[in-house]
Point group: C2
Chain length 121, copies 2
C-alpha cells in the first residue's frame, strides 16, 4: 500500500521544520505544497510555498544560503515534515543575518515594561 | 513597545516545534492558541490546542511523557514557536512508542513497489 502525506489538514500545505544536520539546530519552519515538496526531493534543495507571495520559494536562491536536503521524515500523522539539511553559503538562514530564525525569547506578559522586552504572548 | 506573536496567519493558531534540549532531537510539532501558550508558560508543561478535538491538550497527561518547558523562542516573523523541553516519564513522546514522532522516511513516488515502502509524496 502506498502511504500518502496529509496535505488536506491545512488546505494543501504541510509545515516543514528545517534542522541543521550537523548541529541539530532548528533553523526555520516553512510550508510546502505537493509541488514544492516534489521539487525539493527531486532537486535536493529545499523549496517552500510562500503563503504571502503565493508562489514557490527556493530558500537561499538569491542569498546563496541554500538548504541542501540530506534527509526527510514525516510524523505519525503524516501531516508534518522534518527536513535535515546542510546550509550552504555563509550559513545564515535568517534574513536578519542569524543562523536560525528562532532568536527571540518568548515570555509571559509582564506588569512592568523593561527597556528590552522579549516577544509577548 | 510590546511585541505580539502573530496568531492571525493560521486563524488563532501557531505551530510549535518541540525539541529535546539534551539531544537536539525534534520530537513533534503541535499547534497552540493563545490560552494554550499561556498555560504552557505559566505551568511549565507543554499544552497544545488539539485541532481534531477542538480543546486544550496537555501532552503526556495520561501517558506520563510530559514535556517540561525549558525555553521558548519565536522566529523572525513571530508566527512559529520553538520549544526546548525535557521529556518526563519513559521519554516516549509518540503514541506509537518512539521517542520522536518523526520516524517515517519520505521518498519520491517510485515506479516499482517494494514490499516496505516509505511515505510517498
Amino acid at each position: 500500500m502506498n502511504i500518502e502525506l496529509d496535505f488536506d489538514k491545512m488546505g494543501g500545505l504541510i509545515p516543514a521544520v528545517v534542522q541543521d544536520l550537523s548541529t541539530g539546530e532548528v533553523l526555520m519552519v516553512g510550508f510546502m505544497n505537493r509541488p514544492a515538496l516534489l521539487r525539493t526531493l527531486n532537486g535536493g534543495y529545499v523549496t517552500f510555498f510562500s503563503r504571502t507571495r503565493n508562489e514557490p520559494w527556493t530558500k537561499g536562491e538569491s542569498s546563496g544560503n541554500r538548504l541542501r536536503l540530506i534527509s526527510c521524515q514525516t510524523d505519525c500523522d503524516r501531516d508534518t515534515l522534518l527536513l535535515q539539511v546542510q546550509v550552504e553559503g555563509a550559513g545564515l538562514v535568517c534574513h536578519q543575518g542569524t543562523r536560525s530564525c528562532f532568536t527571540e525569547p518568548v515570555a509571559l506578559p509582564a506588569a512592568d515594561s523593561p527597556a528590552t522586552q522579549p516577544a509577548e504572548v
